[in-house]
Symmetry: C2
Subunit: 421 residues, 2 copies
């Protein structure tokens, strides 16, 4: 295939969108359904119009641009989101949507017609900062939540999704999930350090990790740090530290794909000279394999029993979140990997940390994701950065994968011309 | 010796003082140099007056009541404090001062004259809640801080010690430390669980533990909990947990007299799904033996180096406090132990957690302390409690120790009468 993306045009769109909600010291704040989000949406719609896409806004505000195929069958969908966190970067989400536009632009340039339609989607409220849950637009699209419920969600500013959609003029009337895709592809920055560390150019995403979040409370007895011998203590802080060390070691023994984080710790009374009576910690466990995730959860429960007995403290747990892993379609994963090899890009199979629209759309059709490196592994950060050549590789690979799935119907002479350059 | 203390009278004074600054649900708030402290001081002065003591207020507000001896030589001093923490109990401090008064009262009742004078002292600001440092009155008394510096200390309410002493009418003109004691004795509740747990009636205090307080900051790198493999993390929280577990284990290996507390932990950003970039913890190490305390401090430093390397994090330490242990005079310790045995009380030698006026006065004369059990080991707590029979044992033992040190000159017929009852 000889159609090629224009990296300058793609970068131009990334920077242009990055000016909408731009922060003084770099990065963007384009929270879902704010005025900044509206400005970003308007810009996207302008670009879609210029690319002659058939534009629809659905009931939850997802923006859908359709490029006709030779046949009127199920389209290949390319998507992501354009909302950001409060101190977000230019690439998270935007890359996936704007690469979709660039593919359409490249096909238009080269006069290439595909067998299947190609659809570019920007899903509403992927970040979930103002309105919970995150990945809202794709969740409703995949029928994981009713439209009515979604519109009724009240956010942190006291407004509802429905109100704010109407306010910014994106309460559309197109049926949510009305287009059943043939396949879904999403290009995204890795948001982690693996590709950079291993100098791999492409991450072939096999699926999304399962997540298990638990809050654990250790209840001991506060006591004077000077006058209470060690053997008479019921030290909630010590129990929490021992659990942290031991569950982390256990997780490491489960292999590379298991991660374990004790991200938050609160002691009470949290004073230098008082043995802590209470420790509350969070446990974040993730694994792409549900059985292994269950095994480490069971290991954590056993450890808690053992430590509660050893330190003579009480233990209470509360599930904060639990999602099963999502596996992307093997045919799509294999295809992405094969195309990367054909293009001469070094790649590595990997799992995504949860939180991409692709995992929702995977409920309704074969889906897949392509990752490119994130500098220093940073994301949700104003210094988020992927180099133009990295973006060019990702968008070029996305193009090949889309064309493979959509099927090329014909190419005009212009394309011949273009490929000779 | 046949003089005996009157436990009902002593309890009456404890409860009467406990009404000054009384909290609604029990306990007291009688912070140093507040109006409540003034009321407590006034009550104490009234009692001293009724007991015919020669009363002096020194420059730092210490209240000194002198009962003449047959000779005008160095007196036996009995002391403690009457200020409390914000949610204090009825016994911490008050017991030591009011037992001193009870001994004077018993001697008066029985018409007993001692060879040496007996002095009862209430030291200013032992708790150090409003003004740092704690043990201020006894520190200045023992010439550990100049009067001028002490009066200039600004507290948490923005006032100075000098201003507040003047305000409550306790800026005395008696020279601080003007009376060089022959010996100093202090009766105190244990503020720990050892006596209760071991069913010992009396704690014979051999000295005060050395204290080492250190704040330790672990500097790592924040990272996404889902996308950052374990081997690529610089997890400050994990480093802190490992240090906590390992230093505590090391301290336990140093023997019963070593205690170790990680009382405070702060993680940053302290979020469930972010690998902590910074962890700040406090380390409280105490040992009655300076060499052993130094050894565990060195062990902590080694551990920090090892963990910094293992987890690839930075480590910074900041000393918050460091006091060498204080050993009480062996002759006094032996005497207290022997008198306890003579009275038929079970006793145990032990070290005090730091924080008693006795450790300051030990700089100027032989000093000693007697502990009685604290229910559930609780102190600095409104539920602080020692039973009247426990208090009676402590005060009775204090009486014997005082008389031993002061020497009995004569007893009148009244005493003979009293002892026959």
């Amino acid at each position: 295939m000889t159609v090629q993306i224009d990296i300058d045009r793609l970068m131009g769109r990334i920077f242009a969108l990055g000016k909408v909600g731009a922060l003084q010291d770099g990065g963007v704040c384009r929270l879902a359904l704010t005025d900044e989000d509206k400005q970003g949406r308007d810009l996207l719609v302008d670009w879609m119009t210029a690319l002659a896409l058939d534009i629809h806004i659905d009931g939850v505000g997802n923006i859908i641009g359709i490029r006709k195929g030779r046949k009127d069958n199920a389209p290949v969908m390319i998507g992501s989101h354009i909302d950001s966190v409060a101190t977000g970067g230019l690439y998270d989400g935007a890359l996936g949507v704007l690469s979709g536009l660039e593919i359409v632009a490249a096909l238009n340039d080269h006069g290439v017609e595909t067998q299947r339609p190609i659809v570019v989607v920007a899903f509403t409220n992927e970040e979930g900062v103002r309105f919970a849950p995150d990945m809202l637009g794709s969740l409703v699209y995949a029928d994981g939540l009713s439209l009515e419920e979604a519109l009724g969600i009240t956010g942190i500013d006291g407004t509802t999704v429905g109100d704010d959609l109407a306010r910014i003029g994106y309460a559309g009337d197109w049926p949510v999930g009305g287009i059943q895709p043939h396949a879904y592809l999403e290009l995204h920055i890795e948001q982690g350090p693996v590709l950079e560390t291993e100098a791999a150019e492409i991450g072939v995403v096999e699926g999304v990790q399962g997540i298990s979040w638990t809050e654990i409370t250790f209840d001991g007895t506060s006591a004077h740090a000077g006058t209470t011998p060690m053997r008479l203590r019921h030290d909630a802080g010590r129990a929490a530290a021992e659990f942290s060390v031991e569950i982390t070691r256990l997780a490491e023994q489960m292999g590379e794909s298991q991660v374990c984080t004790i991200g938050a710790v609160e002691l009470h009374p949290n004073l230098v000279n008082v043995v802590p009576e209470r420790a509350v910690i969070t446990l974040d466990l993730r694994n792409p394999d549900e059985e292994r995730l269950k095994a480490v959860e069971a290991g954590a429960a056993e450890l808690l029993d053992r430590i509660a007995e050893r330190r003579e403290v009480g233990v209470k747990t509360r599930k904060l979140a639990r999602f099963e892993p999502v596996a992307f379609a093997p045919a799509i994963v294999d295809s992405i990997e094969a195309h990367a090899a054909k293009l001469g890009y070094s790649s590595r199979r990997m799992y995504a940390g949860a939180g991409h629209d692709a995992q929702m759309i995977a409920r309704m059709c074969p889906a897949g994701m392509i990752f490119i490196p994130s500098k220093n592994g940073l994301s949700h950060n104003v210094t988020e950065y992927s180099a133009p050549e990295e973006i060019a590789r990702g968008a070029g690979l996305l193009l090949e994968a889309v064309l493979d799935l959509a099927g090329v119907a014909k190419a005009t002479g212009d394309t011949q011309e273009a490929t000779r350059q």
